[in-house]
Symmetry: D2
Subunit: 358 residues, 4 copies
């Protein structure tokens, strides 16, 4: 209800502010006997952590996850998995000049008005550090999904107006982690990195798009009518900081097609029903049809800029802000594992729910 719990059966309760003691969460409903591979969780955190390359914020966070419960002899026990990552390397002083001031297009004003109180340090709850809990829970969801063969991969498909036009099927997604912008096309990656670096030098920021593909999805996931698979994926993605849009399958561009072009004909292949193409994005009537599920997530440019902006204070004074602190010029590279994490939580939740029908 108050917005910090995600999922129906596999449920994450997330907590933590940027400059508080720790960020973390509790996972209720993780199936028992899942091998909880801490090294894997840590490697997922490494993909999201700041300071990993020249195009991310230089802020250093080691982000060591501590599992507090729910795991015994390396296996989940079916009881809640509590976990946390202590905050460190905080320079709360960097935020002193923002105490009474509302950063443009940031959550400051909305939080202060909604709650009548605000922890301004580092953005408080609206900080990107909140996504640590998502990545940990998503890593555990991936571990729980391993035996199903389901596979979730995201990559940066556009930065600013640099757009990788090729469909994902023509890309070698195993190359996504080969470069710091997480684009599987090496040449495009180069250009994206250059653009982000230019933007960074300007003290500015830039948006982009992440594409995510889920392979080996069983038929039957998703709960019509309100919890259609893509509706749940959509909420999950839109809940990530800075996300402005979500589309799956043919998405917005599919609106321009005629039905006769858009429909995916069914055929029999190897004795199984499949489709000849996949405008549906692997989902029909809100339920997975066995084809790849794929979708795109739009991220706006980061709101915090290392340049002057005019704004106001809580005391209704107009003022000028120049952020200090260490900030990402582009959120995309670090958002790739977050998109995967949210997708993993949704897919696992739908798998668990679907078991009740069997």
């Amino acid at each position: 209800m108050a917005g910090n719990i995600f999922g129906d059966i596999f449920r994450l309760s997330s907590f933590g502010e940027s400059h508080g003691v720790a960020v973390g969460g509790v996972i209720d409903g993780c199936p028992p006997n899942v091998p909880i591979d801490i090294a894997f969780i840590q490697s997922e955190l490494a993909r999201r952590k700041p300071g990993q390359s020249k195009i991310t914020t230089p802020r250093k966070e080691d982000d060591i996850v501590e599992i507090l419960s729910g795991v015994y002899n390396g296996l989940s026990t079916g009881t809640p998995i509590g976990f946390m990552v202590r905050n460190a390397d905080q320079r709360s002083g960097d935020y002193d000049n923002m105490k009474d001031l509302y950063r443009p297009s940031h959550a400051d004003f909305a939080y202060a008005t909604k709650y009548g109180i605000r922890d301004h340090r580092g953005g408080g709850r609206s900080s990107a550090r909140e996504t640590i809990a998502r990545v940990v829970a998503g890593a555990i969801a991936k571990l729980a999904l391993r035996s199903s063969g389901m596979n979730i991969t995201a990559y940066t498909s556009s930065v600013g107006n640099l757009c990788l036009d090729k469909p994902y099927g023509e890309l070698d997604l195993s190359k996504t982690e080969d470069n710091i912008v997480r684009c599987p096309d090496a040449e495009m990656a180069e250009r994206m990195i250059e653009l982000i670096d230019r933007v960074r030098i300007d003290g500015d920021s830039i948006g982009g798009i992440i594409t995510c593909v889920v392979k080996n999805v069983p038929v039957g996931l998703g709960e019509p009518v309100f919890d259609k698979l893509h509706a749940r994926l959509g909420q999950a993605m839109l809940s990530i900081n800075a996300v402005k849009g979500f589309e799956y399958g043919s998405g917005f561009s599919g609106t321009e097609l005629r039905g006769s072009e858009h429909n995916d004909p069914f055929v029999i292949k190897n004795g199984k029903i499949t489709t000849t193409k996949n405008h549906s994005g692997g989902i029909q009537g809100g339920i997975s049809n066995g084809a790849d599920v794929y979708f795109r997530v739009a991220f706006k440019p980061v709101a915090t800029l290392l340049r002057e902006q005019s704004t106001v204070t809580g005391k209704l004074e107009e003022t000028v802000l120049k952020a200090k602190g260490r900030h990402d010029p582009c959120v995309l590279p670090r958002a790739v594992p977050i998109v995967e994490a949210m997708a993993a939580m949704v897919m696992l939740d739908m798998v668990l729910m679907n078991k009740s029908y069997l």
Copy 2:
């Protein structure tokens, strides 16, 4: 969990198949003492009903809503509002040839595989008739919101490649209902109607986009982090039949901007904090900031075509389908009130939730 309940405090439990006895729902959590204006509910149903113009399906449904409980002397009592609309004018026979067959890009195959059983008549639960419950509940949500001054208006902003490029602020939204395609620009409406008619004659279908604007939104609605206002709106819209994408504020196109262009500067105006522009779509950090909330919803072309398509049966035979029945060539005109209804339910739910903080 099983997907037919929507909302947290204002909760709709929806039921009904196309060719069953009735479609309807139960609303739990409607505040007491809301005037339940049946004529208004009926007028909303009239906006969604088939057969209302030459560009919608000629199927006749009178769709008279019957309120079964929760209203006394014209006011809601705080107890559940049960309601239903009986099905009529069913031509189940039109679907006899589809009994064992899976229509391309329709929910047939996914439902049959998920549940191991399917009510094929008229699409069963995946029929557009399901949206009747949404429109009724949305109308009641609108009635409950009336005293707040909040105002929700949607319109058709594109059909196929015909796109109304003007921002909503330059349109006279009071003219939306003046034409059968529900586009507030008369000239564009004319062209859209022509296009849909051409598509209809071809036995084909076409997609499009609906834009929705919510005015007079109080600051503070939305629950970070997972139930951000736009995440809830996104799920709501993506749960509507045929929706493939959702974006709010600057949306996908905002990804191409730099932060310095995208950010909405705060200023003081008439002693209140406001922004000079609204790329944020009235939502910052997942919470409404008092500016207009606006978003766009992408609808694919209707899957059912009045022309031959190759497909398969449940017995793994390839076959050819030519749908009979009466179908919409374009879902947009009738989807406008559905988008508004889902928006109204989300906004009311967020208002009610927000009261717990006060």
Copy 3:
């Protein structure tokens, strides 16, 4: 949230007032392919209906259930099952003298104050007619549980100070339906009926206790820590009108025992782990252990009396009430199927939830 939805996966949304159009509900999450035996549902309704004997209210309600959706060719389809029972034989006039008046120990004052509005006719939402939705949903839950072999039986174990002291194991529960008070001991039943009849003639009412036994329960049902099997059963029973207490296994009397007397030793029997006795009531640590689950539910005497009582009006005037209308002198006989229905819904919900671990 607003209290009219019950269950997590098998979810009932209930609606309806005594003198409104209908009472009914929507069941979401009923597994597909369950034979929906309408005659069985109707027979369960017959067990709860008024007018079935001289010790129940003479009010006539035929209570014919109409299934509105979710069933095709006699089987559940996995989609929501909407249902309703139309209200009839209403004598709203009987309640005219209660319009502005609060009946002692009834819900009138609390409802009027909570909601600021009240449908006084027949008790409105607080009427026993509300339990019709429970019985229908419970009957469907029983049908869904049939294949599991689980068996749920309740009976009247005390009326006033007439208490059937024998443990359920010494009773022949198949005889419960042989008499109008639903007590499996014929002699005690006779005495109970006499007592109720005496109370009825006095225009008074009397309370009692219902015992419920669930046999063939698989090990593993119940979700620690907050949704322990007995906690969910407890909430379910306490939600029934007029219930004042719940105990399972050794219950309140077990508090007087020492641990060495109370503990149920484990032994091996036929190669399976079992206990030599069952003070645990079949539940340990909140999870079923395979033994019979049994519990007792306390019902207070009905509040509505056919004799004078002093009370007050909403206008703060003291007055005297003499109820007209037709009322039960003792709720127990008709409550037996309601207790079973609530138990069936809880047990099924726990079965469905438990599937997610497998």
Copy 4:
């Protein structure tokens, strides 16, 4: 769903095993601007902690709570409050002989069978240490309720067959904390302590009853029909380890009364509607009526005994268990603050929910 989340708006997600790293939780939905008085929370923990007197387990736990998030400058911020208490003074070795063995009337067998895995050390998740999260969250709920004037007090009203027969109104509840058994009647307390000490020396255990009273309850709390105030209180209490029964107001004994005796007449007093007595336990139709809410909670004798018991192992062997470790002979004294904590969470949740109607 999986049972470790409690509440609708004020929501506790609890985690932790006895011999894991820590126990704790996340509270979502705590209203903002509540003074979070750590010393008070700590004092509530001191009331539940072991080793506090000769009649509790001599196990030492310091139980220092660490607040991880959601509090800024001593006030709640409306964001999730993460907290934990590290485990210490674990003697996991004490449990080595229980590794493959199921303690009678304990959760061991049920957990092992449900999840296929069990953390046997110290009872794992079924340990009484789990209640730490309840006490912390309950203390925060009490702090949030302070401004309302609502007051929640529990006390030990029976141990074994020693029963404090006086109604709570004749007791001085301010004396509850004056003795180690938490019974406000000094003489009865003396006898209870003696009994518990005798039982302890026998290596045995004993049950009892806790009574809880909530004063200054506003009219209108509770959500009919399934979330009646007493139904929610009942679930809350039944979810506490070792609880076997719950009754409110007249409870089980009220079943013996006639309606004319049981009904609570309304009268006008000081211009307000009130009742002359309170068999209703302050709740009518599931909604608080402004009178004191009171209820009784039955606790069975602790299952772990310091004497020999015959039992079985997971390998289906019969064996004899003699528990080592340090255990409570009677759970009652330490359960008093737990009952209050659960009551506080329920009352606050109902207050927050009720705000949506206003």
